[in-house]
Amino acid sequence: MTIQDLKTILEAEVIFGDELMDQEIHTACGSDMMSDVLAFVKDQSVLLTGLVNPQVVRTADMMDIRCIVFVRGKRPDNDIIELAQERDIALMSTGLRMFTACGLLWEKGLRG
């Protein structure tokens, strides 16, 4: 699926990355612990998280993650958005909780 599909499935609002919506995503991970993201992911393209700070974007950057979805309606501040812009990482926010968001993506065929 593409980042655009992700947006539709999660009824998410795009905060940054309108021009990145066509990118293909293959796998996802969901975590609030960045060290867990760094420990267990391989070739993930999407990170779902309830954590909102610049280290989320830095972690995504290190892992070559292309899109970050903030769950539970969380929204990043301008510093975080700027960091993502510099790195071409799409940002979106969904009102769904982590479990529901991950479940919906799994149901549509996205795997971890």
């Binding site: 609030d32 612990m33 060290s35 700070n53 280290q55 830095r58 972690t59 950057d61 290190m62 070559d64």
Partner: protein, 141 residues
């Protein structure tokens, strides 16, 4: 990439939001040099965890990186409080990080284990009250 490339960074221990800038810069340099992506990722993760550790535990420090055609060597030096029990610190899940660090997404006791996991060689030289030097090497296949 015939010559040895040396990079050096001062890590600011005061500002957690900036932790990771050195790792991002090294990652960019490796990409420009055409280093394979899997090698870049190993270096980036190992160094990023190390950088975070320097900010959480040691009030910053200095990172020296050497890039040769064969390997990337990273040396992280700090003058923090040192690691009392290195063996224990290497166990997954063991952490002495304060709670506020956990609320930032770190301090799960995965830092050193992740550094070990993603580097091909790692040594820790630490003296309590003096500081810690972590050396990591990632081979470029």
């Amino acid at each position: 990439m015939e010559n040895l490339i040396k990079l050096s960074y001062e890590v600011d221990g005061e500002d957690f939001t900036r932790a990771g800038e050195a790792s991002a810069s090294v990652k960019k340099s490796l990409r420009k040099l055409g280093v394979p992506p899997d090698v870049i990722r190993k270096v980036a993760i190992a160094l990023y965890e190390g950088e975070i550790n320097m900010v959480i535990h040691a009030e910053g420090g200095v990172i020296d990186v050497e890039i040769s055609p064969e390997h990337v060597t990273m040396v992280l030096r700090d003058h923090g409080k040192g690691i009392a029990d290195v063996e224990k610190a290497m166990q997954e899940g063991y952490s002495t990080a304060p709670d506020e660090v956990r609320s930032l997404g770190f301090g799960a006791g995965m830092g050193l284990p992740n550094m070990k996991k993603y580097s091909d060689e790692m040594t820790i030289d630490s003296t309590v009250g003096v500081g810690t030097t972590v050396s990591m090497t990632v081979y470029i296949q």
